[in-house]
Amino acid sequence: MHTLSLSRFSLRSIAAAAGLSALIIADIAQAATPAELLSGYTAQAGSAAASNRGQQFFTSRHGREWSCATCHGTVPTQAGKHASTGKPIQALAPAFNPERFTDPAKTEKWFRRNCNDVVGRECSAAEKADVLAWLLTLKP
């Protein structure tokens, strides 16, 4: 009886461990570093990123009501606030929020939506590269 429950237990732990490693592998498949995303955008753009251009893009309005900085803050090293709902937005600069720019799909989703709101169109790969290059210069 005792050995039976013991072996049942170990079977369960093996299954759990297998499940866990499957999860970890799935995570790794999607994960990226901000530097990897930057080199992806730079390659797509076909030219080097310029952080000063990124800062200019981020803090300027583009013919519409909001700039990126409206919600994220002029220097996005701390939490910002959604311009219409007031909901807090965690820091955008990767050095201040390690979750940022580690999921390519999530990064693309937010660039798509927010560029539409701020610029009225999707951003080019060069614009994304510039902004990300600038965000990566922001250090504690």
């Binding site: 959604h82 219409s84 709902t85 007031g86 798509r112 709101d117």
Partner: protein, 147 residues
């Protein structure tokens, strides 16, 4: 099962002390809740949710578009858990929860100055006063109005 149904129907009913609630879908919390309070699905009728979910590209002045699979999944969950009873009787103007007759009546004692406080800012900022609204709890005993 019957008890569960009654539970769900009593959702935000007046005078109930333990506002029963639908557990919020994690994806609903992370997607919709990224920009605003994760409003309980029972606060709008199914038709309103359907309109909102098919117009996310222009969602109250912002682009809230989702990938098709996520959009479909959330729309189905909202349809399944949409409002019943008095929450389904009316399609509020612009599909805004805050314009529903029951919402206005429930908040009629809140002074105009309170709505304008920086800590409140918007009638959609449930959490400013409903301290446990992030868990779907709108119990009147949990209300703390900022001054």
């Amino acid at each position: 099962m019957v008890a569960a149904l009654m539970f769900a129907h009593a959702a935000f009913a007046e005078g109930d002390h333990h506002s029963p609630r639908v557990p919020l879908l994690p994806k609903y919390l992370s997607e919709c809740g990224a920009c605003h309070a994760a409003f309980p699905p029972g606060m709008l009728p199914a038709t309103a949710w359907q309109r909102l979910m098919s117009g996310l590209g222009k969602h109250f002045g912002t682009d809230a578009s989702l990938d098709p699979a996520t959009q479909k999944e959330l729309a189905a969950w909202l349809a399944l858990n949409a409002g019943t009873g008095k929450y389904a009787r009316e399609e509020p103007p612009q599909d805004r929860i805050t314009r529903a007759a029951w919402f206005i009546r429930k908040h009629r004692e809140v002074p105009a100055t309170t709505w304008k406080l920086a800590a409140v800012n918007s009638a959609a900022n449930c959490g400013a006063c409903h301290k446990r609204s992030d868990q779907g709890n709108f119990d009147e005993h949990e209300v703390r109005i900022p001054r």
